[in-house]
């Protein structure tokens, strides 16, 4: 399973994701933002960071780079795409997942461990969890407050992937912090599974996100 890790100027979780994918048994490979042809890749992870300095809005500039065209082709071929943190903001800016991740309710950068509830197991990334399972992964963002116009549609289509299980630190609508497209193959999550991929990091609850990709 060749998994592409997209790198933009300002990406900073790329190497963590690389290691997590290796741990999960995948073959990770870095892909630069100007590469359009991703036909040799089986799945893609857009890692966290501060692409283009978060200028304009987090993810707004990465959303118009050539690699996004390659990702859209992968989507047509029904290959899985995971966006983590800044990667999630980018997928929302492109419109591949519904809604936006915008400024936290307290205007602060929040970096902390969170308890999360797995709301659906129909995505490749959450296929190895149990529905309703509580997992521990950290968040680290200033723009993570989820907002969407039509929340009922998300519920009807089973597009809510993760919710904060106890407190809702960034003020997200209905504590949502992970969503997917209608197919479930494109998934955007604000928490960092790669930072919870080894017990020595404080939790390995996130590793199944990557195992789920490799086993897809």
């Amino acid at each position: 399973m060749k998994v592409g890790i997209i790198r933009f100027p300002g990406s900073n979780c790329d190497r963590d994701v690389y290691q997590a994918l290796e741990l999960a048994g995948g073959q990770p490979e870095y892909i630069w933002w100007n590469q359009k042809d991703l036909s040799q890749i089986d799945a893609v992870v857009i890692p966290g960071g501060f692409s283009y300095g978060d200028y304009l809005r987090a993810g707004a500039i990465a959303a118009i780079t050539p690699v996004i065209e390659g990702i859209k082709s992968l989507v047509k071929d029904e290959k899985p795409v995971l966006g983590i943190c800044n990667g999630a903001q980018i997928l929302a800016e492109v419109g591949l997942v519904p809604g936006v991740f915008t400024v936290n309710i307290n205007s602060k950068f929040i970096c902390q461990w969170t308890d999360l509830k797995v709301e659906t197991t129909r995505t490749p990334f959450t296929s190895m969890y149990k529905k309703g399972e509580i997992i521990k992964m950290p968040i680290a963002h200033a723009e993570g407050r989820y907002y969407v116009d039509y929340i009922q549609e998300l519920k009807d289509n089973d597009q809510i992937v993760l919710k904060f299980a106890s407190e809702n630190p960034n003020g997200s609508m209905e504590a949502i912090t992970g969503v997917c497209d209608q197919t479930g193959l494109i998934c955007a999550v604000m928490p960092h599974p790669e930072r919870a991929s080894l017990t020595i990091l404080g939790s390995d609850d996130g590793l199944k996100f990557f195992k789920g990709i490799v086993n897809y």
């Binding site: 707004a60 500039i61 400024v103 407050r145 907002y147 969407v148 116009d149």
Partner: protein, 84 residues
């Protein structure tokens, strides 16, 4: 023709604006009691186009494709022709 363009980007009415509420609370710390605080982002540039309508259409495209996120933003475009 050369145009001076200003795009004013604001959050849609009713959207939570944490920056504005923080500013309002900070003003209160200084003893200024104000209400309905809001923030607006302004992007300015110059643009050469054949006429005003074409320029307006182009700037509107820019707003839709990059400058704004239509889910949460409203925008106003101001175009002034530069004097020769």
């Amino acid at each position: 023709m050369r145009f001076d363009v200003q795009v004013k980007i604001s959050l849609k009415k009713g959207m939570l604006n944490p920056e504005a509420s923080t500013i309002q609370r900070a003003l209160a710390l200084l003893g200024y009691e104000v209400e309905d605080t809001d923030t607006v982002e302004i992007i300015k540039f110059r643009l050469d186009e054949e006429d005003r309508n074409i320029a307006l259409k182009e700037v509107d495209d820019m707003c839709q494709r990059l400058l704004c996120n239509p889910v949460i933003h409203d925008y106003e475009i101001e175009i002034i022709e530069e004097e020769k």
